[in-house]
Structures are given as C-alpha cells and as structure tokens.
C-alpha cells in the first residue's frame, strides 16, 4: 500500500518509470555490445537449457542464449519504437501546428487527411502489406508504415491546441514583434505543447513496439531480426508455452509488459508534472 501511495506523487511515478525505461535502454543499448556471440546464430549453445549461471535465462530450442537474444530484441524493438515515435511525433506536431496556425485550405486538407487516416484501421492494411510483400517487409518498412498511420494522432491534438493558441494574445504580441510564422510556431507555440508531445512520443513508442510485435506474433514481420515480437513468434513456433519453457516465451512478454509500464509511468508522470507546473505558474 505504501508503494501505491507513492504513485500519486508525480515525481515518484516518473522516477519509477524512468528507472524501468533506463533499465531497458541499458539492457537494449549497451549490453548487446557485450554479447559473447551473435545470439541470432543457432547452436552457439546447447539447446533447451534451464536458467543457470552460464545462461541466465536459459537457451532456446535453437541453441540461442535467451538473455543475449533478449538484449538484441530489446535493442531492435526500442530502436524501431523510438524512430517511429520520433518521426510520427515530428511530422504530427509540425503538420498539426501548421494546420492549426495557418488555417484555410491547408488546414482543411490536412484535417481531412488526419481524419481519413484515423478512420482507416491500420492493422488490416499492415497485414495486407506484410502478406503481399512477404518476408520483404523488413523492419524499416514496418517503421515507415507505422509512421504513416501514427502521425495523425499528435497532429489532430496539436492542431486543436494550435487553434486555441492562435487566439492567445502572446501570439499576437509575437506577430507585432515582427516574428515570422515559423518562429511563432517554433519559439512561441511549441513550448506549450512540448510536454504533451513528450507524452505522445512515449505513447507512440508503445504503439510502434506493440504493432510490430503483433505483426511478428502472427508471423508477418521480419522473423530474422531479433525483436520482442519475433522472439515470441519463434518461441510459439517451437511451442515453448506448451512445452513449459516459460522463460523463453515469458522473457520477451515480461519485457514488453514492463517496458510498457515503464514508458506509461513516464508519460503519465510527465503529464502530471506538467499539469502541476501549469497550476503553479
């Protein structure tokens, strides 16, 4: 209960989340460099080992070290999630600001695009693409497709904010100070949505990782790259669940869940903190 009580406290929530995320970034970004062998290669270890000192998380039915495989999977999933989030947030924020601030036909066209893309369920189309392009659907393409479907969320929100911002007096003051439209967007309006953008960024990381792994689990992603999804895919392919090799299938699942919780705590902690700061201003 004490732990739960601390959750109400934005900083603690934030720090716990940051701790989890930092842990994953550490595992995903640094540890892969220390892998004793390419964990993707089969039969570098004995098969189906239980966790031990040599193999902290055991080995797969393919003779891969689950621990090192997990570090690689985390790295790739994180990179994918971060890139998808970065580009969708960037594009979304930029287009949303442009639409909201400029108004007129640009706003109409962009708003239509946003609404249209929001209405189109992305997964069927990704499934379609994955199926049609077969194994060619490499991670970068998955990433591009995800960006395509994810920018409208921030764009729509940012547009709404920008619309209200346009009515704020300081924007007019900025204009009378001779500031250019771009500068007004970037220097004057953007700071107000920066906190929100950060939360959105984190959510999009989640969406990116989860969508890729969903595709992977039904066998439609690039099965040869180590991602959390493909790890689950291979584990299920080799019936790890029924064979009670829970560590193999459980490690990526737990990693996803914990990473999600971590990222979620960060994003909600951030928004709580920015709400608190707004109140104190």
């Amino acid at each position: 209960m004490r732990i739960l009580k601390l959750f109400e406290n934005a900083p603690f929530r934030l720090y716990l989340g940051l701790f989890l995320v930092a842990l994953f970034v550490l595992v995903g970004a640094i540890l892969p460099w220390f892998a004793p062998a390419d964990p993707l290669v089969w039969y570098t270890t004995p098969r189906n080992q239980d966790p031990s000192w040599t193999y902290p998380l055991g080995t797969t039915s393919l003779g891969q070290d689950v621990f090192w495989l997990l570090t690689w999977a985390l790295r790739n999933s994180l990179i994918l999630g971060l890139l998808v989030a970065f580009f969708s947030t960037l594009i979304g924020v930029f287009l949303g600001l442009a639409a909201g601030y400029a108004g007129g036909w640009l706003d109409r066209v962009l708003s239509f695009l946003m609404d249209a893309l929001l209405c189109i369920p992305s997964l069927p189309i990704l499934i379609l693409m994955a199926a049609l392009f077969g194994g060619q659907l490499a991670l970068p393409i998955v990433g591009v497709a995800l960006v395509l479907f994810n920018w409208p969320y921030p764009a729509r929100q940012v547009r709404a904010v920008a619309l209200t911002m346009r009515e704020r007096e300081f924007v007019n003051v900025a204009w009378f100070s001779g500031e250019s439209s771009v500068r007004i967007l970037v220097r004057h309006i953007f700071p107000y949505i920066a906190g929100w953008s950060a939360a959105n960024f984190i959510n999009t990381v989640l969406v990116g990782i989860s969508t890729e792994s969903a595709l992977a689990v039904i066998g439609l992603s690039s099965a040869q790259q180590a991602t959390l999804g493909t790890m689950i895919y291979w584990a299920i392919n080799y019936q790890a669940l029924l064979a009670e090799r829970y560590v193999w299938v459980g490690a990526p699942v737990l990693a996803i869940v914990l990473m999600f919780i971590g990222l979620f705590l960060v994003s909600s902690g951030l928004s709580m903190r920015s709400a608190a700061r707004r109140m104190s201003v």
């Binding site: 739960l4 109400e8 209405c119 189109i120 992305s122 499934i127 379609l128 989640l206 969903a214 919780i261």
Partner: protein, 332 residues
C-alpha cells in the same frame, strides 16, 4: 435546415474518407508481388491433383477470365470503386470461388460486430465506473489497487493476453472451449448462451485491455472535474458525495469519453483482429487473415474495404450522435 446542412457536410467528409481509404486499398495490393492467379494455381497443385503443363496453362487462362483481373489499372480502379460504392459487390471470393465475398463478410460481420460492441460496452461501463471512483477518491486503497491493475493491464498487448487467457482457461482449467462451436436452433436460448460462451475469452481479452485504458482516462477526467467550479459549488451547497458524483461528475466525465470512443474505434478494431486470429473466432479478422494466407484478392479487398467503411461509419455515427447528447451543442 441547419441540422441538415451539418449532416450533409459530415456525410461529404465521410464519403471522401471512404473513397480515400478504398483508393489506398486498391493500389497497395497491386504494388505487391503476389499474382493471385499463380497463387491459385499453386494451391491447386499443392493439393496434389496431377496436371500436365498444357492443362496448367489452360487453367491459368480460365482463371484470369473468371477473376476479371484483366484491363488497365485505371479501368480496374474505376470498376472497383464503382462496384463497391454503387452495388456493394466485391465479386466472388477467389479462394472460395464462387462464393460471393459479400456473403462471407456478412457471415463474419455479426461476430466481429457483436464481439466489439459488447466488449467495448462492458469495458466502457466498467472502466468508467472504476475510473470515476478512483478519480473521486484517489487516496482510498481500493482505488489505488484498481488503478495499479489498470496500469498493469493497459499496456499488455492483446495477443499476449489472448494467449495467456486461452492457456489458463481453455487448458489448465478447462472452463471455456478451445474453439468456437456454436450450436442451437436459430434464435434459441441455447444459441445465445452458446455464442456468449464461445465469445467469452476473446471478449475478455479485449475488455481487460480496453478497461485499463478507460480507467486511466476517466480517472484523469474525474480528477480534473473535481477541481471544476461547479463541483466545488455543488459541494458548498452541502450536497452529499454520492449525489455530486452521480449528477455532477459522472455525466461530465462520461461525455468526453464518447469522442474518445470515436478516436479509439480504429484502434479497438485492430485489437479485435489480432484477438480473432488468436482465438480462431469466426469474425472479420479471421476472414482477413484467411484471405491473406490464401492470397485471395477479392476477399482481402472486400474485408478490408468493409473494415474501413465500418470504422469510418462508426466514427461518423458517433460524431453525429454527440451533438444530440451534449446540451451545450444541442441547444444553442
């Protein structure tokens, strides 16, 4: 008159969205490397029927004719759009030729619709309820526990939950069926219970995740509402907690959730697809997956077009309903 103009405007946008979606759908597969005829031939061949080369060539020609995949891309495009929008005809399924795609979809649609509708409603009601309470009394231990649960549940991907649920409840404790078996005369009580029984786990996996989302969002909403002046005013009028919650906080917390619902429909639909595939649940998701596996062009086009249309329609309906619910917009 004004109402009509608003509806007309919304309908125009809706129509544009649908056409836009269909256009994307038409071109994506045609850029892909799969030739449906070859896929079909290979399927015939892999079933082991012996045919010599000239027989295969003859079959190839006859398939091209029946599937109507000839003509320039633009011609095919116009035919496609016209056919779908004017006649609602997606042609015959290629892998289950000559069953019309529409027939297959109509068989699957009630399943997806029912699954999504009920699980969304349940999650919505439960999530709003729990979110409201935990937002209202954030310091109580039960609301902390509920929020903790929601935070832990919300990020879990559907497919993980689906897997875990079916292992737990279909195998280790054999409470729910492993596969969908619907029995009972049409419109009988048996049929209903049978459907509920079979839909329970897929539904639960959606409910649990969506529930978490609602709890979090409603809680935030409620926390904000608590600071609202009219809530404060109601409290200063000496109203009891229950009354304030029920008549001041609840309606105001729920109303914005309706717009969120519109935004979430696409995402929830995505979730239901994965769930259906993993539970072998006979809805649209499984049909899409089958179509993918079989390289069934017409079926793919049909199912995905319909998904787009369905989601766009649902979003539009919510958009149209919203002003009728919110008095601030209704009475001007």
């Amino acid at each position: 008159m004004r109402l009509l103009r608003y509806i007309a405007g919304r309908l125009v946008v809706y129509a544009l969205v649908v056409v836009f979606g269909l256009t994307v759908l038409f071109f994506v597969p045609r850029l892909g490397p799969t030739d449906p005829i070859e896929a079909m031939l290979a399927k015939v061949a892999s079933q082991g029927a012996y045919m010599d080369a000239s027989q295969v060539d003859a079959l190839r020609q006859s398939l091209a004719d029946t599937f109507g995949l000839s003509g320039s891309l633009l011609e095919q495009y116009w035919a496609f759009i016209k056919r779908i929008l004017l006649t609602g005809d997606f042609g015959p399924s290629l892998s289950m030729y000559p069953t019309p795609v529409m027939e297959l979809i109509m068989n699957a649609l009630p399943w997806t619709f029912g699954l999504l509708l009920t699980s969304t409603l349940i999650a919505w009601v439960l999530g709003n309820f729990v979110g409201l309470l935990s937002g209202w009394k954030p310091e109580s231990s039960s609301s902390r526990v509920m929020e903790g649960v929601a935070i832990c549940l919300y990020p879990i991907p559907y497919y993980i939950l689906a897997l875990v649920l079916s292992i737990l409840f279909s195998y280790i404790w054999q409470i729910f069926p492993l596969t969908t078996t619907i029995r009972g005369a049409p419109w009988s009580w048996n049929l209903v219970t049978s459907i509920l029984w079979n839909s329970f786990l897929p539904g639960a996996s959606i409910v649990i995740v969506v529930f978490g989302w609602w709890v979090i969002s409603v809680k935030a909403q409620t926390t904000a509402l608590k600071e609202e002046e009219f809530v404060r005013y109601a409290r200063l009028k000496g109203l009891g907690d229950g009354r304030i919650l029920a008549r001041y906080v609840l309606p105001n917390a729920i109303l914005p959730q309706i717009t969120f619902l519109a935004l979430q429909i696409g995402l929830m639909f995505n979730g239901s697809l994965i769930t259906e595939i993993l539970f072998d649940y006979p809805g649209l998701g499984l049909l899409i997956y089958t179509a993918v596996l079989q390289g069934d062009f017409n079926l793919l086009m049909g199912t995905i077009s319909l998904s787009v249309i369905a989601v766009a329609t649902a979003t539009m309906v919510i958009d149209l309903i919203y002003p009728l619910i919110d008095p601030r917009i209704r009475h001007r």
